[in-house]
């Protein structure tokens, strides 16, 4: 479990990173919590690492207007200690405590998790549900990709090998939004078997908008549009929640083979977790 030979460069600026990535055989080292493990197993053999840990400004979280911008070196732990204010921060806080355990959360980064695109990771489904935008920077310049277009398959994204995932922009949750998160896993520190994220905005007692994300329910993070539609215009009551849970399980989820489960149990679990996430949203806000 020792990595294959690789070169190492420490970047001091975003330009350094982009320059290093230009060869197409360099990978970004942020927290290293997934990349280094894979290198130790030699399932990844980057010819070179560009270390972004010393790039000034990469660790900033910035709220501008109705958007929160998150840089490439913001650790998971930041979301436990209130880096993001308001209800969006509360949602991220609720989610982050399910990511691995504290030592990993102090190293691993949100953008690293997004770029890695592990099927059981929580952040990809969060940003997909919330309709976030991602900025990719390469030698050819900067481009923006919607979260819904970013994730292509397990461990595959729209990021090109010569691009840095430079920023993710999350929309602030509007007033009147309630949030919920429910996860199913086998031990405290193991990967999610399934998880559901919900952010539901109520106006005059009825659902005016809903964002529901499913973790590990398909070959990529799912925005549960059918479940969201089942809620729109209705009060967030038992029948609406049940309809959303059913829609999430039957229409939005597209599970595949996984250990210790079958397709029926996975769909059943999606329904249960969707209901729990929505129940949490309406009871705990």
């Amino acid at each position: 479990m020792k990595p294959a030979p690789f070169e190492y460069v420490a970047a001091r600026s975003a330009d350094d990173v982009v320059a290093a990535l230009a060869d197409g055989r360099t990978e970004v080292l942020a927290g290293g919590q997934s990349l280094v493990l894979e290198m130790n197993y030699r399932t990844r053999r980057p010819a070179r690492l560009v270390d972004i840990n010393r790039v000034p400004g990469f660790d900033t979280v910035e709220a501008i207007g109705d958007t929160v911008r998150i840089g490439p070196l913001v650790r998971h732990q930041a979301f436990e200690s209130g880096a993001v204010p308001g209800q969006l921060g509360a949602l991220l806080h609720r989610v982050v405590r399910h990511i691995a355990h504290p030592p990993i959360r102090t190293r691993g980064t949100m953008l690293g998790s997004l770029a890695y695109a592990h099927p059981a990771a929580e952040w990809p489904a969060v940003i997909t549900a919330l309709g976030a935008e991602l900025d990719l920077v390469g030698a050819g310049g900067r481009r923006t990709v919607a979260a819904g277009d970013f994730f292509l398959a397990p461990f595959r994204t729209a990021r090109r090998p010569d691009e840095l995932l430079a920023e993710v922009r999350l929309p602030v949750l509007p007033a009147g939004t309630v949030i919920g998160f429910a996860e199913h896993r086998r031990t405290h520190a193991s990967f999610a078997q399934l998880a559901v994220i919900a952010a539901v905005t109520l106006a005059d007692g009825r659902v005016s908008s809903a964002s529901i994300g499913l973790v590990n329910a398909a070959d990529r993070p799912v925005r549960a549009r059918a479940a969201e539609a089942a809620l729109l215009g209705r009060p967030l009551d038992d029948p609406a929640v049940a309809a959303a849970a059913r829609a999430a399980a039957e229409q939005d989820a597209d599970p595949g083979p996984q250990p210790y489960t079958d397709l029926a149990y996975q769909r059943h679990t999606v329904a249960v977790l969707t209901r729990r996430a929505l129940d949490q949203a309406r009871t705990e806000g």
Binding site: M1, K2, H184, H188, A189, S190, F191, T269
Partner: protein
């Protein structure tokens, strides 16, 4: 009296501060690192091993296949040579590979990084053969793993065949099939060996091991060396659990490499190697039938075992036999018939794993007793009581060939029921069934196990400076011998335990030894030291008698001081007149510790998640020398049992490729999963040793899994339990409940 004192472990001063010294911590000048080119196919004909590019890799010192090392001995069988006959295990594959991970070549480099680079440069061609993974299937398959030898490496029967009429005439017959899943040993420290050739052809071997003297014998025998020229030293060991008793293929290859290069070479197994094995533990298909009368009195028990022992029948082949001999547990059953087969499959070879056959036996009988109680509508505690071997029946000859030394099984069960508040939980269960609530279950296990085997060496020497040295042939792999063995010696001598220093784990200092496995250290090794200390007093009295010219009967001994004819001398003073030491080898019979476990669980009805609310362990280890240490082993083994019950599972894909390659895939319980544990004891001294200790340390792996599984079955009120196979994942419980 220091026996029974809860002394803190001396060794923890260094171990918990990170100051321990494991094989991987040793700094031996010029040491090279070995890694192995391993088969990536589970079964195939080895056609070609091309190491040219490996040898050309910068930093690689050597790369050899079996063709390059013609004098490499086969992996020695540790026991039951019959199952090994016709099924040799070359340390580096010669013509056939039989499991993924089997070593095909060894690459030695300046460090582990470059050695792995060399490994990756090796080119191996293997032509795939059909893969056998299930032992029952393999037993009958026309595909043979070994030409000229069947896939059933050994088949044994115990008890007597049961007439079909017994089953037909009994009031009730319950039947079930159980799977004991394959487990990984998951020691904190993986296997490790460092070999330094010495001038004159000898070897010094540092190794993470349980049985240094046996390893010395195997290495000397395998390489044509005299035993006294092989020194085996076991530094601190981070857990063994039965996986470090063996002389593994990698060890032989490392010795060969070190000798050929005439340089120190080490192999530090990594976690990926450790999880994919060998060794693995457990791995049994079990089929049971139990007949009883209307009162739940057992009439006949039949157990059929097909054990998957992996690609080579090694120490794992003995495990199903151990299961067979413990089949009837705590019960008198008039008719018993057991058949066990050890079957080769294309998984990694197995070895004993903490409990080594007894967890498998306890699980089969204890799950079946609960099924019987459920079928008859009787309380499972009551059904157990009606069938226990009575406290006055000892020594008790079991139908499978053991003689249980002592026990009071009903007493242990009563303590467990009281400690868990059995009647209180039964009321709560009834209330929930009546009024609704999360399904709640209570599960019991009353086990008997076997501990100790064979002889052990122990010696005690008095030193002129007032200290004492205790030498033992045992080999602590984390059990705390440095603390507990001096307690035994100090107790006999009537002195402070701080004055006794233990020496073990070095074949150059300890003349002989068997080692530490089968819960034998205190029962056998402790008893040997107990006797040695007594002999030391006798030797001292003899010398005092000669010094004072009085009959030995006139010499008194008290707390390290001898007195006769108005004179007194300390043991230290007497040792100043010439070496004062007593050696002995003691071979008490096997011991049979027992106990009762009770688990209370909730099974979340929507997703099937199991929450263990209470887990009570009542163990009877006879005389306990250090209750603090024994409690610690109780925690460890009980949590390992929890792991088998709920989480752990070595898995393969249909082609025999391991799916559990990291601790992200192979889940072990962590602190977050540990439930409220409660320990209690009964105390029935071992009648066969003056010390009175029985083996401790494996009981939790034996008692906890069936108690938890029975509790889940009880919560779900299952009529048929075949669907409830360990590990009880949420999906398993959800499926079983439907």
């Amino acid at each position: 009296m220091t026996i029974g004192a809860r002394l803190r472990r001396r060794e923890d001063h260094r171990l918990v501060r990170g100051a321990g010294c494991y094989v991987g911590d040793l700094r031996v000048a010029g040491c090279l690192d070995a890694v192995f080119v391993r088969s990536d196919l589970a079964h195939g004909d080895l056609r070609q091993v091309d190491l040219e590019a490996a040898r050309a890799t910068p930093g690689v010192v050597a790369a050899w296949s079996s063709a390059d090392l013609p004098f490499l001995p086969d992996t020695p069988p540790m026991m039951d040579p019959e199952s090994v006959r016709g099924r040799p295990w070359p340390p580096l594959a010669t013509d056939r590979v039989r499991y993924v991970g089997q070593p095909v070549a060894v690459v030695v480099g300046d460090d582990r990084y470059v050695a792995e680079d060399g490994r990756d440069a090796a080119r191996v061609r293997i032509d795939a053969l059909p893969v056998l993974l299930d032992p029952a299937e393999a037993a009958d398959s026309p595909v043979r793993l070994f030409a000229g030898a069947g896939n059933v490496a050994s088949e044994k029967t115990f008890g007597e065949p049961i007439d079909e009429a017994v089953w037909q005439q009994a009031t009730v017959v319950v039947e079930a099939t159980y799977r004991q899943q394959l487990l990984a040993h998951t020691y904190l420290e993986t296997r490790a060996i460092l070999v330094r050739p010495e001038p004159g052809g000898g070897l010094t071997v540092w190794v993470s091991h349980q049985a240094p003297h046996r390893l010395r014998r195997d290495l000397a025998g395998g390489f044509g060396l005299r035993e006294e020229n092989v020194r085996v030293i076991v530094p601190d060991v981070g857990g063994a659990f039965g996986g470090k008793s063996e002389t593994w293929p990698e060890y032989l290859a490392v010795v060969a490499a070190a000798r050929r290069l005439n340089r120190p070479v080490r192999w530090l197994e990594d976690r990926a190697e450790a999880l994919t094995g060998p060794p693995h533990g457990r791995g049994q298909n079990q089929r049971v039938r139990l007949a009883a009368d209307a009162d739940g009195r057992m009439l006949a028990y039949e157990l059929h075992i097909d054990a998957d022992v992996g690609g080579y029948p090694h120490t794992g082949a003995f495990v199903p036999m151990a299961t067979s001999m413990m089949a009837t547990g705590a019960y008198t059953i008039p008719q018993v018939s057991v058949r066990s087969r050890a079957v080769v499959t294309n998984t990694a070879p197995t070895s004993p794993y903490r409990g080594a056959g007894r967890p498998e036996a306890a699980s089969a009988i204890e799950r079946t007793v609960d099924l019987l109680a459920h079928r008859l509508g009787l309380d499972p505690a009551e059904v157990r009581r009606r069938n226990f071997i009575g406290p006055d029946a000892f020594p008790y000859d079991t139908p499978t060939g053991f003689t249980y030394d002592s026990g009071d099984y009903a007493a242990a069960l009563d303590v467990a029921l009281r400690e868990v508040d059995y009647s209180g939980w039964r009321s709560e269960q009834a209330r929930r069934r009546r009024e609704g609530g999360v399904p709640l279950g209570i599960g019991l296990c009353t086990y008997v196990e076997r501990s100790g085997a064979g002889e052990e060496f122990g010696a005690v020497e008095a030193c002129p400076d007032g200290t004492f040295v205790a030498l033992s042939g045992c080999c602590s792999t984390g059990q705390g011998h440095e603390t507990s063995f001096p307690q035994v010696v100090a107790d006999v001598l009537g002195i402070e335990p701080e004055r006794v220093r233990l020496v073990e784990r070095d074949t150059a200092v300890v003349p002989s030894g068997i080692g530490s496995f089968a819960s034998r250290s205190m029962q056998t090794g402790g008893a040997a030291l107990h006797r040695a200390a007594g002999k030391l007093i006798e030797a001292a009295r003899q010398r005092m008698a000669e010094t004072c010219a009085v009959p030995v009967g006139e010499v008194t001994y008290d707390a390290g001081v001898l007195a006769a004819a108005g004179r007194s001398m300390t043991l230290a003073e007497l040792a100043g007149t010439g070496q004062l030491r007593a050696d002995n080898t003691f071979a008490p019979p096997e011991g049979f510790p027992f106990g009762a476990y009770a688990a209370v669980v909730e099974v979340e009805p929507e997703l099937g998640e199991v929450t263990v609310l209470r887990l009570v362990a009542v163990d009877d280890y006879g005389v306990v020398v250090n209750p603090l240490i024994v409690d610690g082993q109780g925690y460890g083994s009980t949590v390992q049992g929890l792991g088998q019950a709920l989480y752990e599972d070595v898995r393969y894909d249909p082609d025999g490729r391991p799916l559990t390659r990291s601790l992200l895939d192979y889940l072990i319980p962590t602190l977050s999963e540990v439930p409220a544990l409660r320990f209690a004891e009964t105390r029935t001294p071992n009648p066969n040793t003056p010390l009175g200790a029985k083996g401790a340390g494996e009981a939790g792996c034996i008692g906890a899994p069936p108690a938890i599984v029975n509790a889940v079955a009880d919560a779900l009120a299952l009529d048929a339990r075949d669907a409830l196979q360990m590990p009880l994942t949420p999906y398993t419980c959800w499926s079983a409940a439907r």
